[in-house]
Amino acid sequence: MTRALLEVSGLKKSYGGIAALRDGRFRLEAGSVHALCGGNGAGKSTFLGIVMGIRQRDGGTIARNGVEVAFDTPSDALAAGISIIEQELNPVPAMTVAENIFLGREPLARFGRVDFRQMNASAQALLDGLHFSIRADTVMMELTVAELQLVEIAKALSYDAEVIFMDEPTSALGEAEADQLFAAIRLLKERGKGVVYVSHRLSEIFGIADSYTVFRDGQFIDSGKIADVTREDLIQMIVGRPLAEEFVKENRTEPTAILSVRNLNAERGVSDVSFDLRKGEILALYGLMGSGRSEIFERLFGLSPDLGGEIRLEGRPITLGSPRQAISHGLAFVTEDRKGSGLVLSADVRANICMASLDEMSSGPVMRSRREAQAAGRMIEMFGIKTASDRLEVSGLSGGNQQKVVLGKWFLTTPRVLLLDEPTRGVDVGAKREIYRIMSDFASAGGAVIMVSSEIDEVLGMADRAIVMREGRIAGEIDRRDLSAEKLVHLAA
C-alpha cells in the first residue's frame, strides 16, 4: 500500500443533537484521484468542512502523512498542504490572475511596494509549469469558469498543497472545458498529489477516479478501487437500495406538433434554428457551452429580444416578448441556475411555489392565502417535497428538494411545454430519478419537454430525439433509435 496523504477515521459531528456525520472514514493515497460519493445529506459537506478547518469535529481522528492533526481555521489546513476548490469560486474579479494567486502574500520590493514584476513572473512560471495556457496578467473577469478553476488549482499548488479537494468542479463546465480540467487532474496525479473528487456525476467518477468512498446518512458505507465496482453497485451504495433503473421513460411521441419554430434567431449568434416539438415528446438540445442552447431557451421564454423567426403554438403564430407572455401561452422554464434564477432563497416554500401563478392566486389585487396554501400543499404532495412546513425558507432544503420546488412552481401554471435547462444539476441520484419520472409523466399526459443537458447519459436515457447545436446553428438531429454518445460528441464538436 502506498503512502497515505490523509487518513481520517471515526469522524463525528452533530448539530443540535442531530448527527450529520457518525463515522467518517477516508484514506487518500499519494498520486491518486479519490471520489467521495453520497447523496444530499450524506455528510460530505460536513466531512469537507471539518477536514478544511471550517467546522470543528465532535470526535474522531485526522492524520496527515501519518501525523495526527487538528485544524482550527482554513489557513491551518492550508498550511498543512490541504486545499479546496469550491463549487462556487470566489475570485477578486477586477484583479489579475497573478494578484489572485498571491493574494495576501504579495512579494514586496523596497518601501513595502508590491513587486508586480516578480509576482507576474512567478505566477506565469507556475501556470506554464502546469501547461495551462493562461496569462498571469489577465484580469480574472475575462476568464471562463474553467480557466478560473485552473487558476484555483495553480493557487493551491503555490501553497504546496498535496491534498486537493474538488467540490462538484464540473457543475458549471461544458464538455470541452471539463476535459481541460480532467487533464489538469491527471497532471496533479502524476506529480504525486492526492485529489479528492466530489461529484454526483457517475460517468466522471468512472472516467477519472482510482478509488471511491461512499457516505450515506452520515455513515461510512464502503470504499475501494473504482475498477472493482460497477456503476450499478455504486448507485446502490449511494442510494441504499437497488434502483430498478436509472432512468424512467414511459412517454410516447405523438405525431402532432405543439411548438413549431422556424428560422429563429437569438442572441450570441444563434441563427436559423427550425424544429418541431411534438406532443408527448422529450426533445434534447445538445451542444457545447456557447453553442446556443441556453440562448434558444431565453428567446423562447421572452427573456431576450425578438431577432426574427417564427414561433407557432399548435399551429397559431405567437409572440414571446416577455416571460409573462410565455407563461400565458403555457410555457414553463426551469433555469439551470436554481439559486440564481429559480428560487427566492429568502422566501418560504409556499411563496416560491406560487410565484409564477400570483394572478390565479388572487382576486383583483388581493391575494387569497387559502388558495396559496392549497396550491403549495398540492405541489408538495405531488412531488414529494421533503419539508416540515410550506412556511419554511427554501434555503434550508436540499438541492433535490429545491429543484422540486422549482418544478412545483412551474407545474402550478399548468404548462404545456416544459423547458428544462440542466434539470438534474447538483441533484443526487435518488432525486434525479424522481425528476426523470416527473418528466416522463408530464410527456405521457400530453405535454412536451425540451431539455438541455450536458450529461450525455441523461440525453441517451431520456430523449426521444436530440438536436445538436454547434456555433449557434443546428448541426444535426438524431432520433432515439440512432442515439449514441459518439454521434452526439461528433456532431457537437
Binding site: 416577455s322 416571460p323 410565484m355
Partner: protein, 318 residues
C-alpha cells in the same frame, strides 16, 4: 426556539425594556400627554420609514426623502397660504387641492428616481442622491429661498387637530401603518415586492415585471415623503425650505433597526414601526433625563450599528 423568538422580537423587547426603564427613571415619561408627544414626534419619521421599507425590500435605498419633505411642503403651502408674497395666483386654494399637489410632487420625484433606477440600472444610492440635491434646489428656487408662512386654518387643522384626543399626525401614521402592512402581506403587489427584492432574476423568470415594481416603490416612498412634508408644514404653520434635512437617515435607521435586510426581500412594516418608535422613545427619554442632543446622536449611532450587528449574528447562525 426560545432563542429564535428572542431574536425575532429582539427589537420589540428592546422597546419594552426602554419604556420600563424610563417609567422608573422619570415620573413624567408614562403620562398620557408624554406618550402622545412621543407618538406625534415619531409620526413624521415613521411615515417616511414605511415608504423607505418598500424601497429597501427591493434592494434599493431612497436618500431623497428629506428633500422631498421640503419640496412638497413649500409647493403645497404656496397653494394654501394667506401671505400674498408666496401665494400662487388665485389662492389660497381648498386644502384638498393643496394636499393633492404636494402628494403629486412627492410621487413625481419618486417616479423620476424610480425611472432612473429601473430603466437605466443606475444604483439607487446614486439616483436618489441626485434627487436629494435636485429636490432641495427646486425647493429653494420655487420658494425663492424664503419660508412659506400663514397657512390657512383648514390646512393647519390637518397637522394640529385631535381625533378623539389623538393628534392627527398619529392617526395618519397608524392608518398608513395598517395600509402598508396590508399591501405588503396581502396583495399581489406585495408578493411582487418581496420577490423582486429577494431574487430579481427569479422574479423576472416567474413573469413578474421587476422594473415596474422598482419604479412603483420609489413612487410610494416619494408619496409618503410628500405627505410627511405637508404634515410637518401643517403642524408648524409654515413650510420651510430647510425642512427635512437629514430625515432620510432616521428613516433608514428605523427600517434597519426594524430588521429589514438591506440585501432585500426580508423585512416587515411592523419592524420598521417598532424601530421608529424605539428611536422616538430614546430621543424623548434622553430629553427627559436632560441628556444633551449632541449625545443623543452618538447614542443613536451606536443603536443603529448594534441592531445590524444583531441581525448579522442571526444570519450567521441560520
Amino acid at each position: 426556539m426560545l432563542a429564535s423568538h428572542a431574536q425575532k422580537y429582539g427589537i420589540l423587547i428592546a422597546l419594552i425594556v426602554a419604556c420600563i426603564f424610563l417609567t422608573f427613571a422619570n415620573e413624567y415619561f408614562l403620562t398620557g400627554r408624554n406618550i402622545l408627544n412621543v407618538l406625534r414626534q415619531t409620526s413624521i419619521n415613521g411615515i417616511l420609514a414605511i415608504g423607505m421599507t418598500f424601497v429597501i425590500l427591493t434592494r434599493g435605498i431612497d436618500l431623497s426623502v428629506g428633500s422631498i419633505v421640503a419640496l412638497a411642503g413649500v409647493v403645497s403651502a404656496s397653494l394654501a397660504t394667506t401671505s400674498s408674497a408666496a401665494m400662487v395666483a388665485g389662492g389660497p386654494y381648498p386644502v384638498a387641492i393643496a394636499f393633492g399637489a404636494g402628494l403629486a410632487v412627492g410621487m413625481a420625484c419618486g417616479a423620476v428616481s424610480g425611472f432612473v433606477v429601473a430603466r437605466f440600472n443606475v444604483p439607487a444610492f446614486v439616483a436618489t442622491l441626485g434627487m436629494l440635491s435636485a429636490a432641495r434646489g427646486l425647493t429653494l428656487i420655487y420658494a425663492g429661498g424664503k419660508p412659506v408662512p400663514n397657512l390657512t386654518d383648514a390646512y393647519r387643522w390637518i397637522g394640529t387637530a385631535d381625533l378623539a384626543g389623538i393628534p392627527m399626525p398619529v392617526v395618519a401614521f397608524a392608518v398608513i401603518f395598517l395600509a402598508a402592512t396590508w399591501v405588503l402581506t396581502s396583495t399581489r403587489f406585495g408578493r411582487h415586492v418581496y420577490a423582486a427584492g429577494g431574487n430579481p432574476h427569479a422574479a423576472k423568470v416567474s413573469g413578474i415585471n421587476v422594473p415596474r415594481i422598482r419604479l412603483l416603490v420609489y413612487v410610494i416612498s416619494g408619496g409618503m415623503a410628500g405627505f410627511a412634508g405637508m404634515m410637518l408644514a401643517a403642524r408648524t404653520g409654515s413650510a420651510l425650505t430647510q425642512a427635512g434635512i437629514a430625515y432620510e437617515l432616521d428613516a433608514i435607521a428605523a427600517v434597519v433597526i426594524g430588521g429589514t435586510s438591506l440585501a432585500g426581500g426580508i423585512g416587515r412594516v411592523t419592524g420598521t414601526v417598532i424601530g421608529a418608535l424605539l428611536i422616538g422613545v430614546m430621543n424623548n427619554g434622553l430629553d427627559l433625563m436632560g441628556v444633551e442632543s449632541y449625545y443623543q446622536q452618538v447614542i443613536k449611532g451606536g443603536l443603529i450599528v448594534a441592531a445590524v450587528m444583531l441581525d448579522q449574528a442571526r444570519h450567521k447562525q441560520a
